[in-house]
């Protein structure tokens, strides 16, 4: 072994020893396969348990009719990025845009399977547009690093779903999304701030993906078709107190016998468990099809860590 080779040998050892703990793991570029989760499908349709709706949010949810899905203008309604993250079709990809002259990161451009929504996360420090700028389905997003997390702030959104049974966030919402890598996994925390429909911030943390460079990104061709004929000019809705959704029927019981007041939204804190003990439990079993459980993803084998 030459002196040079010996020196290289020792240097490699030194570098390996010192660098192992300093490897940055924060780049979110690439393809991400969603890990199974339950899309809050345990409650009956219309159940808003855990969602801190304001009075306005409650009214908005009470007025919602499932026939809205079949209004011609809404048949292929885009699902915004923040909703699609927790949906069942949340395979996604992020591509970095690098400025050739400076080699600095300008943006991450993302695509998610559900409705093929796209997002651009601007990383170059540009400001958000003025308040009167157009609002879009996925809004305007800027990103910055907070330690090892990419924190994205999104404004200029259209009104859209929090849950797909009438629980909405307004176009005044600001959404903060934190992407954090844990090895080959990507965990995301979404906090929705909505001064109109929410009484306090709504947080989601249970979304997680696994890095999978070979994952195909399937198209999502949405074809407009009439499944239920809604007369032209009709705006499906219910007047207050008339919604027939099972989650809003005080007599119907899901598998948990969830008390009716809890289904109206809001109780996110542990002390509510004690309050529920004083509530009457509904006794009529809900008919089959009253929950959204069918939307749960099947479990998939996850490689060992």
């Amino acid at each position: 072994m030459t002196t040079q080779a010996r020196a290289r040998f020792v240097m490699v050892l030194l570098v390996l020893a010192w660098s192992a703990s300093a490897l940055a793991q924060r780049d979110i570029a690439g393809r991400w396969r969603p890990l199974p989760r339950n899309e809050d499908g345990d409650g009956m349709t219309g159940d808003a348990a855990g969602l801190p709706l304001s009075q306005e949010g409650r009214w908005r949810a009470d007025a919602w009719s499932p026939d809205e899905f079949d209004v011609a203008e809404w048949v292929c309604r885009p699902h915004p990025w923040d909703f699609s993250l927790e949906g069942i079709l949340s395979a996604m990809e992020f591509r970095p845009e690098i400025d050739r002259a400076t080699q600095k990161l300008v943006a991450y451009h993302g695509q998610i399977n559900q409705m093929e929504q796209r997002v651009s996360i601007w990383m170059d420090g540009r400001p958000h547009p003025p308040a009167h700028a157009p609002h879009t389905w996925s809004g305007f997003s800027t990103g910055e690093w907070d330690g090892d997390s990419l924190v994205v702030t999104t404004t200029h959104l259209k009104e859209s779903y929090i849950r797909r049974a009438g629980q909405m966030r307004s176009d005044q919402s600001i959404i903060r999304t934190r992407y954090r890598r844990i090895g080959d996994l990507l965990q995301t925390t979404v906090i929705i701030y909505d001064p109109v429909y929410l009484a306090e911030p709504y947080v989601r943390t249970t979304m997680m993906w696994e890095h999978d460079p070979a994952m195909p990104m399937w198209p999502y061709p949405c074809e407009e078709a009439t499944e239920t004929a809604v007369p032209r000019g009709n705006v499906p809705h219910f007047l207050p107190g008339t919604s027939p959704l099972p989650g809003l029927n005080p007599a119907l019981a899901d598998a948990f016998a969830t008390p009716y007041p809890a289904r109206l939204g809001g109780p996110m804190y542990p002390e509510y468990i004690a309050r529920m003990k004083t509530m009457s439990r509904p006794g009529v079993a809900a008919p089959r099809g009253s929950t959204e459980r069918e939307s749960s993803q099947p479990l998939r084998e996850v490689p060992g860590r």
Binding site: M1, A5, R6, F9, V10, L13, L14, S21, A22, L23, A24, Q25, R26, L35, R37, N38, D40, D42, A49, G50, P52, W145, D146, G147, D148, S149, R176, R180, R181, I182, Q187, T189, I191, Y193, P201, Y202, V203, R204, T205, T206, M208, A255, F256, A257, T258, A262, P267, M268, Y269, P270, E271, Y272, I273, M276, R293, S296, L299, V302, G304, R305
Partner: protein, 261 residues
């Protein structure tokens, strides 16, 4: 060893054997590393995040599974094998309560999912203590040492903690999170309705704290439970906690087999 023989050995390996001087340098280096580690600041001084304070569960997702006692056979999201399902279908909370096993759903592998309040503080410079009001449990995250040979199985097991650096944050300072690996857990329930985990289970958790522009401080705990006895793949959950100014609302409860907390 003759020069010829040594040359042959060297030629047989692409890098050759490093000479004695290199071994000496290597051992010197490792010794230095040990020495540096011995003089390393305490876990408290080296903390990448300040997790101390009082926190409350915010149950905005999977509300029914956490705020109510799920019915027998409710296995949504759980990667169970057939034996686990069989045992869970035999769940009898009254039997657990009568048999002194009412803390089964308050063990380390499940406790972060039980709605409640946490109080986190340093028990000493190298041990972070988490008091939990639900089930009146205490977890100890130990940054030094290893579990003693005769460590008995306990509900909260033995938790080895480390600050894990994952990059550089503002001003070039190290950024990262707390990683906790828990073993030697007494067999318990992953879910209130009798879904089992065994003493062979391992829990790995990542604790991440952050502050929002409105002043809210959040703690997100990502949990990975592996169990060769009952799980077909890791069971992954993330739980959110919000910081509260004091211990208002602190409500220590006994372990209860038939209550959500």
């Amino acid at each position: 060893m003759s020069t010829t023989k040594a040359t042959k050995i060297t030629e047989a390996r692409p890098f050759g054997w490093p000479p004695k001087a290199s071994w000496f340098l290597l051992f010197l280096f490792l010794g230095l590393v040990d020495s540096v580690r011995a003089q390393a600041p305490s876990a408290r001084a080296a903390a990448l995040q300040d997790l101390t304070g009082s926190w409350v569960s915010v149950v905005a997702e999977h509300w029914h599974l956490r705020m109510l006692v799920p019915p027998k056979g409710e296995f949504a999201m759980l990667p169970l094998n057939a034996e686990a399902r069989r045992l869970a279908n035999m769940w009898d909370p009254a039997r657990d309560q009568a048999g002194g096993e009412q803390c089964r759903s308050y063990g380390a592998a499940a406790i972060m999912r039980v709605p409640g309040r946490l109080h986190i503080h340093w028990a000493d410079d190298n041990t972070l203590q988490m008091d939990i009001d639900s089930g009146t449990q205490t977890r100890l995250f130990r940054f030094r040492g290893a579990p003693p040979e005769n460590q008995p199985l306990q509900w909260q097991g033995y938790s080895a903690a480390a600050w894990e650096t994952t990059g550089r944050g503002e001003g070039g300072r190290a950024a990262g999170h707390l990683k906790v690996t828990t073993t030697r857990m007494r067999p318990g329930y992953l879910r209130k309705n009798g879904v089992p985990y065994s003493e062979r289970a391992t829990l790995v958790e990542y604790f991440d704290r952050f502050r929002e522009p409105n002043g809210d401080e959040w703690l997100v705990v990502d949990s990975f439970v592996t169990d060769p006895q009952y799980l077909t793949q890791p069971y992954i959950t993330s739980s959110a906690f919000k910081k509260i100014p004091d211990r208002a609302g602190w409500d220590p409860t006994p372990c209860r087999a038939d209550q959500a907390r």
